[in-house]
Symmetry: C2
Subunit: 153 residues, 2 copies
């Protein structure tokens, strides 16, 4: 199912402090193992039994899987008109994400820095916390996104 989310937020529409809440994503062991088998094949991400004797003491999602799910939720919940174009990001994972976790993302606009050379755009810094159903943060993501002004011709 292609997911062409409507794009509607221009730079003109964004203000520091604006908040955006995503839908939810239910993560299960099958998804964790499928992602990690392709991209992060370590025992604690791909083998529920072997994971028990590791640092994580049980199956845990790859941090990059949590980031990817977060991105999926952001595409729908942060509908920038030109898309979400990231220049960079800073991410931490305060707690492991486990099978059965139901994730959602709360984002806030932290700063808006107009481009010096190109007056039609700015770097918008967003802070996105990925929560599980227990109300605790699984991922803390700050991203620098490119946003454009509405064309006025």
């Amino acid at each position: 199912m292609p997911d062409h989310t409507p794009r509607e937020l221009y730079l003109d529409d964004l203000s520091i402090g604006d908040e955006f809440v995503s839908a939810e994503h239910l993560l299960d062991a099958e998804q964790i193992i499928a992602f990690a088998t392709e991209f992060d094949p370590q025992p604690f991400h791909i083998d529920s039994e072997a994971a028990k004797t590791t640092f994580f003491q049980g199956l845990a999602a790859s941090g990059w899987h949590v980031t990817a799910i977060t991105m999926r939720l952001l595409v729908r919940s942060l509908p920038f008109a030109s898309g979400l174009i990231g220049a960079g990001a800073n991410v931490t994972w305060p707690k492991p994400t486990r099978p059965g976790d139901i994730l959602h993302v709360r984002s806030r606009i932290v700063s808006i820095t107009p481009s010096r050379s190109k007056p039609d755009r700015a770097i918008v810094q967003t802070h996105s916390l990925t929560y599980a159903q227990d109300g605790q943060v699984r991922q803390d993501l700050t991203a620098q996104l490119l946003a454009f002004k509405r064309k006025t011709n």
Copy 2:
């Protein structure tokens, strides 16, 4: 094909300045579209035609796809004995990654910070540059990884 890379590097074996070079990964449009359809469904990542009229002027990989491929290459090229356990990371994408790019990762140990409370471990900061075949950097990743001393009993 499960990828149980041998784990062998303990904290005792790591020094600032140590370098590690990964294998290569050939990225194609099919992989770019498959990843983005699941995790980053935006026109410039999932539709070669629609991508032409976007900021990227053609199909480009999701930044998080480049991160995921980088992780796959790091699992083999940075064989920490307890696995690659990330506390956090900082990532930028200086240039888009395109279909046909052949990626490899060069990593360097930047700092080693012993834990104050747990003498058996340290946070190892690594700097990993993901290059394409043109010698230009597609991703610049700094990560904080947990490493453990060899058990001496």
